[in-house]
Symmetry: C2
């Protein structure tokens, strides 16, 4: 494939390290045989370390959105009341899934760029004592905001028995998320973010309390039925044919992550993010998050200032500088750009981005700093 | 990955040709950018040629079972009457999905190893004039039987307005299935069978009649909502993050298939299958299909004779001869073995299988011919 190689600075997919590329070319095996059983058992065990959980973790052949659907349909029945916190495109998507399957959704909506405070959740729970679950997007990829998940979990646990369902697609593995420690019941993520492998697998943790809910959950489910996944996992299998190539890649990527050390990854991510934010401000840009305390360590969202042509800026970065940034989504389209810095990212990757911007911004009419 | 390479003779996944392996290592790209749009448009167009359809075809990041679910939830409402033909494990799976989502399923069941006759379908349609859809497994992988889909389609069309939903996971691309020619409304298949790439993508065609049904279909759907897929495809995108690596692989695999010519693939498959069946009979085995007229050209199912230890046979083939066969599924477990011969298979691959069997069968107490 004659493809240019870009410095891919989208918040997923992220560039693939060489050992991952090599693993992708491993030969096909029988997914009902002992070799796949070992691969499934090994990757599941290592994933539990990254999830910091002793509960069940399942690997689904789907993108992260499939895991979000699984989190809803395996725990709830039509008519169940759900408190949902939406502060961006992905929060909206989670709400939409819950509504599609008949949940009675109480929406806490905030400005895109703001974070939802645990106090708001506490208030909503008190107003809705029959709430069955709280759903929350840990890191809102569309706005570059990381919610105070620890505080939200405390607010839920101190005031209810509600399940906590978390979209951690662009957070888990890059920023602290001790699944058991914070008492999250179902946590979903995807392969193409922190895990440095191509899209196509989703990972989902499922607590004892979630299994209790599963027993009475009446939303229909088949492909995403985690009961089937659990039964198959006990045999070292998946219920449906798994994406074997990505399991190979995941295995080596998890080895890389555990060798670096999860805590060290968090520090690296935090340092790179801090450098990114400071650099964007030095270039005269304004960050989208209304308070830097909740600015994401995996993706930085930046306002397009008046006078800078958004499409021309993104296109010049790509064509002249071989750097692919992400644009805004939904109502932020054309109003922001986003720099992804998760997965196998180091400070030098962002230094390249900054140097490129310094080269091209003057001719596009943007005056730095 | 230090993995032994086997002659993988399961009916999917199938061994990967070198150009496919190479394509898998192509770099990640932004799935919302122009490069992915081109990849999506190209693969979709080529898939339509293999499906022999001018209707819509969608590529889903899921295994084939996900497409089966999509075929049901996008066309039906709870309570809709469906005639389902089950003649093996995969027929049962399709029935199970339809029931899970609330379809009122009239089951036509036949012995595993037999084929369902178009006459039976015709009779059932006459008894159930309110039938909304007929679901059928074209090639039943668990028994090595290919149903007379052309005859079944005629029976349905001559007697009703029912939609025809086809599981073609282990048939499409290997045996004739002119989707428009036979009037199939929704046809599902998977990447790891005829398409010679790893598991993880599913392909599904969706006719104008199916879209008409979609408008009133009330089964809930989100990840597998083909309305969302259609809307995104018009923008050159997928609604959820796609498995980019497999799209690269699919693109080169489809080029290989179209270069060989679909009709030539059918002839190659038919020749290899005929050779496989004759060889198994020459070795003194009995085929599972009760009539060779409906024996599959993609997988041959063979009775384990009295006196031959099934596990020992499969294990010796694997350990001593590096050939992986498939066992029986469900109630056929331990009673049959299966030789997969689809994808990039040539006669020499099966000659190796036969030579290996000739070497090991005498010491396992099986007297050939």
């Amino acid at each position: 494939m004659a493809l240019d190689t870009f410095n891919l600075r989208t918040p997923g997919p992220t560039p693939l390290p060489d050992p991952v590329l090599e693993a992708l070319t491993s030969p096909m095996i029988n997914h009902r045989g002992p070799e796949f059983k070992k691969l499934l058992d090994d990757t599941t065990d290592k994933l539990k370390q990254v999830f910091m959980t002793k509960e069940d973790v399942f690997i689904l052949t789907a993108s992260g959105t499939g895991a979000l659907e699984a989190s809803i349909v395996n725990t709830l029945s039509p008519g169940d009341k759900v408190i949902a916190c939406s502060a961006g495109s992905f929060g909206d998507r989670y709400v939409e899934i819950a509504k599609t399957y008949g949940a009675d959704v109480v929406e806490i909506i905030c400005e895109w760029g703001d974070a939802i405070s645990p106090d708001l959740i506490e208030q909503s729970i008190k107003e809705n004592p029959d709430v069955k679950a709280v759903i929350i997007t840990h890191n809102e990829t569309s706005t570059g905001v990381t919610h105070d998940l620890e505080g939200i979990c405390s607010a839920v646990k101190n005031n209810s028995e509600a399940l906590i369902l978390v979209d951690a697609v662009s957070s888990l593995g890059s920023v602290p998320l001790p699944v058991d420690g914070w008492g999250c019941d179902v946590v979903s993520t995807g392969s193409q973010k922190s895990f440095m492998i191509p899209p196509g697998l989703a990972f989902i943790s499922f607590s004892e309390r979630a299994w209790k809910a599963y027993e009475t959950a009446k939303m229909p489910k088949s492909y995403f039925d985690l009961g089937a996944a659990k039964k198959s996992l006990e045999q070292g299998q998946t219920p449906w044919t798994p994406n074997i190539s990505l399991f190979y890649a995941l295995d080596v990527a998890l080895d890389m992550m555990l060798a670096e050390g999860i805590e060290n990854i968090f520090i690296r991510q935090s340092d790179v993010a801090e450098y990114t934010r400071q650099s964007m401000k030095d270039l005269g840009f304004k960050l989208l998050p209304s308070d830097e305390r909740w600015a994401s360590d995996t993706v930085t969202a930046v306002h397009i200032p008046d006078g800078l042509d958004s499409s021309k800026f993104m296109k010049t970065m790509k064509d002249s500088e071989k750097i692919v940034l992400a644009g805004g989504q939904g109502k932020l389209s054309g109003r922001i750009f986003r720099v992804g810095h998760l997965g196998a990212v180091v400070k030098e990757d962002i230094e390249e981005v900054v140097a490129a911007m310094k080269r091209i911004l003057p001719e596009l009419g943007h005056i730095s700093g």
